[in-house]
Symmetry: C2
Subunit: 358 residues, 2 copies
């Protein structure tokens, strides 16, 4: 597997895969050549993998510290952020000290923000351990924590110096987490790459069985597709990055009304994509089979297709109206035009949105 190069001028970096030519040691020397010290950050479920990473860092001659946060979304807090800063100060970190995030999106987002803020920017190495973090959160430079009033409300753009993907780390990942990550993989197919979508249809069984070659291919392909978008809109300024939100306006409403915790993020995204695709049908933008193919693939992946019947519809509409992507209360969605392509559509009538939620 070739490394995936993310081209961002002076902030360019490689996503490398374990098992290819070149070891973790080479990766570290290439991506953070001047680091003598590293703070490895993990959560309680990834501590074991972090120890492996830590040993590998020490074998290349780095001195390391380790910080373990409780697993779960609530660690993306100002309090845990402060503790990581304390851990860096205790090392003590210098300007070349690497922050090495070993975990899912929670660890990556939190440790990434600490790396962004300490000394106004330390080199960050991402070692994602969930499928979601391998295909999504480790790529693109968004870091941050939550605020009582909003998810990911506090943070920074801080591109990693390198991303190391070892699919072996997925060995301990619960099945539901793995399937949830697949929703974002399906998304890349729908928004950017019809061939990749077809590949997933043809290889659904191998993917679910976590066949190593299938997983490596789908992770690399997903990283490449996300990188293509990020390269054109690094800081969410041109609007292009919005296509990554396919299914997410609905998902956000499901997560809010269902309560965080009812569904994993990918589960909400799966049902959100089906709703968005149905909406595109109602607007006459796509034929029914574009939706049907998504329904089939998501079903194969064991993902939900519809919000739970007990969730009330009006509060969901309210959330969508307040969505950051909604301009002045008019509903706005990323909708498919054909398999492999989406567009931002403004001023969608609320009635149609209600219909796809029913």
């Amino acid at each position: 597997m070739e490394p995936v190069r993310v081209n961002l001028g002076p902030r360019s970096y490689d996503i490398r895969f374990a098992g290819d030519l070149g070891s973790f040691a080479d990766f570290v020397r290439l991506s953070v050549p001047r680091a003598k010290l590293a703070l490895v950050v993990a959560d309680t479920h990834t501590e074991r993998h972090a120890t492996t990473v830590r040993d590998a860092l020490e074998s290349v001659g780095l001195r390391t510290g380790m910080a373990v946060v409780p697993s779960g979304e609530s660690s993306k807090s100002l309090a845990e952020f402060g503790k990581l800063l304390d851990a860096l100060a205790d090392l003590p970190a210098d300007r070349q000290t690497a922050v090495v995030a070993v975990g899912g999106g929670v660890v990556g987002d939190l440790a990434g923000f600490a790396a962004a803020a300490y000394n106004r920017g330390l080199p960050l190495v991402m070692v994602p351990t969930t499928l979601l973090s391998m295909v999504d959160s480790s790529v693109g430079g968004k870091t941050g924590i939550n605020h009582a009033k909003g998810k990911n409300l506090i943070g920074a753009f801080h591109q990693p110096a390198g991303v190391w993907i070892d699919p072996a780390f997925l060995g301990t990942l619960p099945d539901r987490e793995f399937r949830s990550g697949l929703a974002e993989v399906v998304k890349y197919g729908v928004i950017q790459d019809a061939e990749f979508f077809a590949w997933q249809e043809a290889n659904a069984a191998a993917i679910l069985a976590r066949d190593l070659e299938a997983v490596r291919y789908l992770v690399a392909k997903s990283c490449r597709l996300k990188a293509d978008v990020v390269e054109q809109d690094e800081r969410e300024e041109t609007g292009l990055r919005a296509i990554l939100n396919y299914g997410h306006t609905f998902a956000h409403a499901f997560e809010t009304v269902g309560g965080y915790g009812a569904w994993l993020h990918g589960e909400a995204v799966a049902a959100g994509m089906v709703c968005a695709s149905r909406l595109a049908e109602k607007l006459g933008r796509i034929p029914a089979d574009v939706t049907e193919r998504q329904v089939k693939l998501l079903t194969a992946f064991g993902l939900p297709l519809h919000p739970k019947a007990e969730w009330p519809i009006e509060p969901m509409i309210d959330v969508m109206r307040r969505d950051k992507k909604a301009a002045a209360g008019r509903l706005r969605f990323v909708l498919p035009t054909r398999m492999g392509h989406v567009e931002l559509v403004d001023g969608v009538p609320e009635d149609l949105v209600r219909e796809v939620l029913c």
Copy 2:
């Protein structure tokens, strides 16, 4: 007075002066054209000026909130940072909401970091009210807070959308604070502009009397000189920005050994410049009169020329050895080569450093 343009590509901005053609209202419409909301941040000593600014913002149609932090360095803390984020969330801020910092470097650094982090970047307007913040901290995009283990250890580069300088706000500034700010002004002359240094010598009395034209000229000139450096090294990557640290390696040692609070920052910088200049003499880099002119001007400004006799020398040397600018324990200083020009000098013998401290 022409506005001072800071050229940083898409992050360019103007520093504008009250009393010129164009009002504060015009400035706000130009610098944050899409803002409908603003959070005005002040400390207990600048609250009055902040109220003036707030009224002006409301008269242009912005809805405002106000957050007042205790005056003093201890407000540059994670706790106050968290409170500002809460205040922004309570507004609630959207992506266009402006953060307007009305105060000295403490308010600017703290509010600037909150603006950088909230939503990964809100537009920031600086309204400096101390001489130091007018000539130094409001220009350049460094924001941040302190950590028990180090000053300004946590932060972000976040360029303001605009800087508004109203010398009338200096009316309430204590004399000692005003004179302390002058140390940085003297610094710009020594490191970048011999003519500006000579102008200060010729106008010392008018400056100390806070003659309005003299103050406007010296603030604008200082902003221009700092902007020249920042434009060439926005994120402290090329090393050029290091020249701004003239006198600061010594100053940092004085502040640490004397205890923060014994001296104001500019007082430490004044004595630090004299030490650095004497060091350059001892190294045969400049004739004695370059130092003597600084001594005379700083004396006229009522600033100290020498560390206090009771401060022990070895701890000061220790601090300098640990300085971020010191490479591998070898002492490194920014030293004059002639009036208006400095160089980074590496591997300075400790004995000479001891001599200039005695």
